[in-house]
Amino acid sequence: MAGGARVTAARVGVVVFPGTNCEHDAVSALTSLGGQAELVWHTAERLEGFDAVVLPGGFAHGDYLRPGAIARFAPVMGAVSRFAAAGGPVVGICNGFQVLTEAGLLPGALQKNAALRFLCAPAALRVTSSRSVLTAGVPVGTELMVPINHFSGSYVCDAATLEELRAEDRIVLRYVENPNGSVDDIAAVANAAGNVVGLMPHPERAVSELLGSADGAVLLRALLASAAGERAA
């Protein structure tokens, strides 16, 4: 922009439910990439002033009943729905993905892993759509190494939904080798507008070679860029 306009960092709200445990990793990763990130408690009813919202991983409300089943009734989820409906970027990571599906902001559901085993390992991912706030500007076909850490990460949806996701280019990431039984190797999906994305892998745990991979930064940078675009809009 001309005239020496100040570029301010995108402000990201990181939602914390009782039992969330990846919020500080998310804040640290987003901050290290030039964003500004703040924790938002689940009782918050407003998200004004944020350019993006992240629902981080963990075990919201102990994952009782089903992962995300109780969290979706938290006051903050009404605000997240309104933020998403207004086009704001919303990303759910792992447990956050489960919360978004339970809340109906993303289609499908996350089932127990096919082998009934908790998986904690680096996973090779392939970007399969650039039409989302998490992959905007990232070429389709890009391979990323990002860790997974979940027991209920097997994505399921009915045949009609899968057809719709494919036709509308809403499958954002696929596993190169399917670790958990997800239908069509799905690791991440987006809503129709592309501004709400859920993914099982943890990009916030892969933002430095010291952690084994910096590939997660590719996704989080795209999110920060989308958020900055949201601010400019």
Binding site: G108, Q111, V156, G181
Partner: protein
Amino acid sequence: MRFVARVEVRLRPGIADPEGATIERALPALGFDDVHGVRAGRAFRFEVEAADAAAAEARVEELAHRLLANPVIEDSEWRVVPG
């Protein structure tokens, strides 16, 4: 009036049930070669205050659909009896 509700939640037919399948695979070792089609699920029991059985049933149905089962992958069945 008080009613007692029992709600059973199961994965819908066609949805993979690794828990049920694992249980079924263990059965022959215990001599249960005659048991098939195992589906794992969960059950809830609770009490409802309602004017009559129909009203209690309606509340239980709503609760089952809104919270206890995820309609994307699960079905639910319930029974309501005077408590």
